[in-house]
């Protein structure tokens, strides 16, 4: 009698665990998907440092550049800083070719930057305008919004070329 009861209990336990194991993959995947989605939407934005790929927002011929050195700051570059970058993608008949090492001014950064009035400003993506060693832009047009802090950094030419000043 006791043996029969024990076997019945074990069978119940097995069936319960089996049910759990069958349903568990669905549960775990759904929760994992939710967490991943939330993580990507709330991703922590950080400095522009070595190996950061940035979008080029002028008509110099480059499409994407990769930062190889931030010229200011210990951690990395921020909005308005100058960086040294390597051209990773370029238009076939542009002024700069793929593999060329260029200077660039960060005109948009996803990491927020404090303004002089105490508020903070941040942008959608990381973008640069390619410049020469003297700080003059290589291209003749600048696309998208740029911050007015560039005036303090003496990049007035970029501001005059820009369509929108935020």
């Amino acid at each position: 009698m006791a043996a029969a009861f024990a076997s019945r209990c074990s069978r119940v336990g097995r069936s319960l665990s089996g049910g759990l194991s069958n349903s568990s993959p669905g549960l775990f995947t759904s929760s994992h998907g939710m967490t991943c989605n939330n993580l990507f939407s709330q991703q922590q934005r950080t400095f522009i440092q070595m190996r950061t790929v940035l979008k080029v927002v002028d008509n110099s011929g480059a499409k994407k550049v990769m930062c190889i050195q931030a010229l200011k700051g210990k951690k990395g570059a921020r909005l308005g800083d100058t960086i040294i970058a390597s051209v990773k993608e370029a238009h076939p008949n542009g002024k700069v070719k793929k593999g060329k090492v260029v200077y660039g001014v960060v005109v948009r950064a996803a990491m927020q930057k404090g303004r002089c009035d105490g508020s903070e400003v941040k942008f959608d993506d990381n973008a640069v305008v390619l410049v020469d060693k003297q700080g003059q832009p290589i291209g003749t047009r600048v696309f998208g919004p740029v911050p007015h802090e560039l005036r303090q950094k003496k990049h007035v030419k970029i501001l005059t070329l820009a369509g929108h000043i935020a």
Partner: protein, 130 residues
């Protein structure tokens, strides 16, 4: 300095507060605090958001109604009269209670103190007045 409005909750943003997000189409979103900014990042609808229910204005201005205004103007003197009578009643009750307490415990009354003022001081005061 300008006072901006929060994109999410429409509250006033005073100088030095909040965060400003600039989208690539040059549209500027200003947020008064991190709560609004996070809700925006989570693509919440500000009209449906229940977390701001407590902060919503309740005393909305009503549309002008002549009869209602007339009734209110008639009621104001009555309400004032009731308020005054209630105050008087309240003070009277308090005085009665105070008298009863003093009768029970006379030590609560302040002792009468006689202050002696010297003649010289009184003369000085008189001279000052002149």
């Amino acid at each position: 300095m300008r006072l901006e409005k929060c994109w999410f909750c429409s509250s006033t943003i005073y100088p030095g507060h909040g965060i400003q997000f600039v989208r690539n189409d040059a549209k500027i979103f200003r947020f008064c605090r991190s709560k609004c900014h996070k809700n925006f990042k989570m693509k919440r609808n500000p009209r449906k958001d229940s977390t701001f229910e407590f902060e919503r204005k309740r005393n909305r201005p009503e549309r002008y109604d002549r009869n209602l205004a007339e009734n209110v103007l008639k009621a104001i003197p009555k309400i004032d009269k009731i308020r005054v009578s209630r105050e008087e009643r309240h003070h009277k009750n308090n005085l009665v209670k105070a008298r009863y307490v003093l009768q029970q415990d006379p030590s609560l009354t302040l002792p009468k103190i006689k202050v002696k003022v010297s003649q010289q001081q009184s003369e000085e005061n008189h001279a000052m007045e002149e």
